[in-house]
């Protein structure tokens, strides 16, 4: 009995107390409490110093007078554990694994073995086996696995970092050489395209690649503004303006609509479907609208026809300089076709103007008749040719506009195509220069280095993810064991409490072969 009592006291020196305030925060640091004399070899200088300070400041883990157990010397993984998931990293502070490995492992094992041995001797076979099993599964195996992984991956990680560093230096060198090559080849760097979204930050520089050199070569050519006088194209300012474009759309819609409204009404008046009286009736508004729509389509049709005819006439008026060299390209010059197309346009214009003139004249006559009701109508009549002029004013401008546009647009397109061709020839000529080819090679070298750097970074991230994952698993398992340990110690203290004050009548053995009578006697003695 006395031997058993002494053994329990010896073990209790390693058991934790149930009052948190008796243990200072540093006192529960696992590495310091488990192995005060020998700091782990994996600790850095800073952590060693901190550990030493904690050892000096903490009280010794001895049982108190009333039998309360000392603070747990076991695992406290969260104190100085790598805080990568729950607090920001402090710059310049490096944390090492808080786990029980290497020399600490022997201490922890010794304590665990001691408690296990005590439990077995005290008759708690099940608890002793469970302690051993949980310690093995939750502490020993994850810590071993983590350390093995570190041994395997840490050299790779360091090598990866070294290679990234070397690649960075190579990139700097290659970029310098690229800029020298661009300067030697006399290729100006292009201005990066404006970002689609308006941001306050300046746009990121365009990455160096052969595409950049290609774009720079194409940009190294005269602007359209600079060649518009020579090549006969419109300046850029009058082409890309939004207001000009919107105005063009409105004009393209409302000009034929206005002319078409009058044309449709005049057609209706000539054919007898409409009259001045009908136009003045509110219920005939739909007829007027219908006439406007019909007139719009007729006007657009005539305008587009004039556009196409004039485009064809413009094409037929082209003269190729060397006909033989352009075979089988067709010869376009044809005066007959040009005259024919123009005659059709003139005929359409006259027909439209005649319709407008006659319709207006008939409306004028009806208005004269109506004027009799107001005592007028006896004045001088307006001659018919005036209405022809009015008809020409109504419809001819739109037709002429479309015809001129039809002549001008293909010509402008041809000039733009020529500029594009000149640009292509220019770029093609520049590509043959050795300096330009050197610039392309250097750009590709920079691009290759960037690609290699991205590969290395991805590899490094993969290694670090594996290490972090193993570390997390280890810390979590250790914490589980700590919770289990606290529960075990609390249970053990509760079991030993009667022996601290009452005399011992018999050894407390609770083996698997304890009889029912013995259990009842034990309960009765309590």
């Amino acid at each position: 009995m006395e031997m058993e009592r002494n053994e329990f006291d010896r073990v209790a020196a390693h058991l934790p107390t149930d009052e948190p305030e008796t243990a200072t925060p540093n006192a529960v640091e696992p590495q310091a409490s488990l192995s005060p004399a020998a700091p782990p070899p994996s600790e850095t200088n800073s952590t060693i110093a901190e550990a030493t300070q904690r050892q000096v400041g903490e009280p010794p883990a001895v049982p108190s007078v009333d039998g309360v157990f000392a603070p747990s010397p076991l695992i406290e993984p969260y104190r100085d554990a790598a805080p990568f998931w729950h607090m920001p990293l402090e710059p310049g502070v490096f944390h090492e694994t808080p786990l029980i490995v290497h020399s600490q492992l022997s201490d922890a094992e010794r304590v665990v073995m001691l408690v296990e041995s005590y439990l077995r001797k005290a008759g708690y076979e099940v608890q002793a086996s469970e302690l051993r099993m949980r310690y093995t599964h939750w502490v020993k195996i994850p810590a071993t696995q983590y350390e093995q992984l570190r041994q395997e991956l840490e050299p790779q990680r360091i090598e990866c970092q070294r290679e990234i560093h070397a690649t960075d230096k190579a990139i700097e060198q290659a970029q310098t050489e690229f800029m020298q090559a661009m300067a030697t080849a006399r290729i100006p760097l292009p201005v990066p395209p404006p970002p689609k979204k308006r941001t306050k930050q300046p746009p990121a520089p365009e990455p160096i690649s052969p595409l950049l050199v290609e774009r720079a070569l194409q940009a190294d050519f005269a602007h359209e503004d600079e060649v518009c006088g020579e090549q006969g194209v419109a300046p850029v300012s009058s082409k890309g303006n939004v207001l000009v474009t919107v105005g063009q759309w409105l004009f393209e819609f409302f000009a034929p609509l206005a002319a078409g409204l009058l044309l449709g009404v005049n057609l209706g008046v000539i054919t007898g479907l409409l009259s001045l009286e009908v136009l003045q009736r509110g219920e005939a508004l739909w007829l007027v609208a219908l006439a406007a729509v019909i007139g719009l389509f007729v006007e657009k049709l005539v305008g587009n026809t004039a556009y196409s005819l004039m485009s064809s006439a413009a094409m037929a008026s082209e003269k190729r300089e060397v006909v033989g060299a352009t075979e089988p390209f067709p010869s376009m010059r044809s005066s007959v076709r040009t005259v024919f197309f123009m005659a059709i346009i003139a005929l359409m214009t006259v027909a439209i103007a005649t319709v407008d003139a006659l319709g207006l004249h008939m409306l004028y006559q009806e208005r004269q008749q109506e004027a009799q009701l107001e005592g007028g109508g006896g004045g001088e009549q307006v001659p018919l040719w005036v209405f022809f002029i009015a008809g020409l004013i109504i419809s001819a401008p739109y037709i002429v506009y479309k015809a001129v546009k039809g002549w001008r647009e293909p010509e402008t397109r041809q000039r733009e195509a020529r500029i594009t061709y000149l640009r292509w020839k220019h770029v093609d000529r520049r590509r043959e220069e050795p300096a330009v080819q050197q610039a392309f090679a250097k750009a590709q070298e920079v691009a290759n280095l960037h690609q290699r750097r991205e590969t290395l970074i991805a590899e490094l991230e993969h290694i670090e993810r594996r290490l972090d994952s193993a570390r997390t698993e280890c810390v979590g398992s250790t914490q589980k064991f700590r919770d289990y340990w606290d529960g075990l110690i609390a249970w053990l203290r509760k079991e030993q409490a009667p022996y601290a004050h009452a005399p011992r009548y018999a050894p407390r053995r609770r083996g698997s072969n304890e009889t029912l009578l013995q259990k009842l006697l034990g309960l009765f003695r309590r």
Partner: protein, 235 residues
């Protein structure tokens, strides 16, 4: 000089149309056209006179009427047929002096259909002596009997001369009492007869608010008042 060049824009770059946007724009345009068309149609229908009407017109072809006055009268009838009356309104035309003759009866769509009638039988025709508007009113009542479901407008185109004031006033009183007679238009009267026309010959119609008299310069105003009167019947 800077070695940097501005990026050049190519006209045909990015010109590919988004089919979804194009479809939406097309649907939007069709919807807008449909809404506008429906609004125009509804407005046109709302402006139409729904009340069934019939028109009787008596032209004074006596020697006191000049050709200009007859032309003015024809122009007024054309305006009534063309601007005021619904299409295919039954129309009957008489010419009268001492006697009365029916010259035309039809359901015209437009006033142009009456051009030949007006020119040949009224403007260029010169009747005998005498002016008997009471006979026109009698014929008008017979004409009204043919269409009991319609309301009627009588147009008496005369310079205002009347050889039978008493009979005319009696007929006018009958017309004033007839609820189916919506309006009686008299004109183009010359200034000399205008007071007598309004206060004597057709006084019952004037009192009933059915008389619309126009002279040589206020025909369009009389037309507008007639239109208002017929629109008031809609309500």
């Amino acid at each position: 000089m800077s070695r940097y060049r501005g990026s050049r824009s190519y006209r045909h770059e990015g010109d590919a149309q988004n089919p979804l946007l194009t479809g939406l724009a097309l649907v939007g345009i069709i919807a807008a056209v449909a809404v506008a068309g429906r609004w125009i149609w509804n407005y046109s229908r709302a402006q139409d006179i729904k009340t069934p009407l019939a028109v009787g017109a008596g032209f004074d072809v006596s020697q006191s009427m000049s050709k200009e006055q007859k032309q003015r009268a024809v122009a007024f009838l054309n305006k009534v047929i063309g601007e005021v009356m619904p299409a295919r309104t039954p129309t009957k035309i008489w010419r009268y002096a001492e006697t009365i003759e029916t010259v035309h009866e039809s359901r015209p769509i437009a006033s142009k259909e009456l051009n030949t009638v007006s020119r040949e039988t009224i403007e260029n025709y010169l009747g005998k002596w005498g002016t008997r508007p009471d006979k026109v009113m009698q014929e008008f009542q017979r004409f009204a009997a043919q269409y009991p479901e319609r309301k009627f407008v009588l147009c008496l185109f005369t310079d205002g001369e009347c050889h039978t004031p008493k009979e005319t006033r009696e007929q006018a009183a009958r017309l004033a009492q007839d609820s189916r007679v919506a309006a009686v238009v008299v004109g183009p009267v010359i200034n000399r007869y205008r007071r007598a026309v309004e206060n004597s010959y057709y006084a019952p119609l004037h009192d009933a608010g059915k008389l619309f008299v126009f002279g040589e310069t206020d025909g369009l105003d009389a037309l507008a008042r007639l239109k208002e009167r017929l629109r008031a019947l809609e309500n």
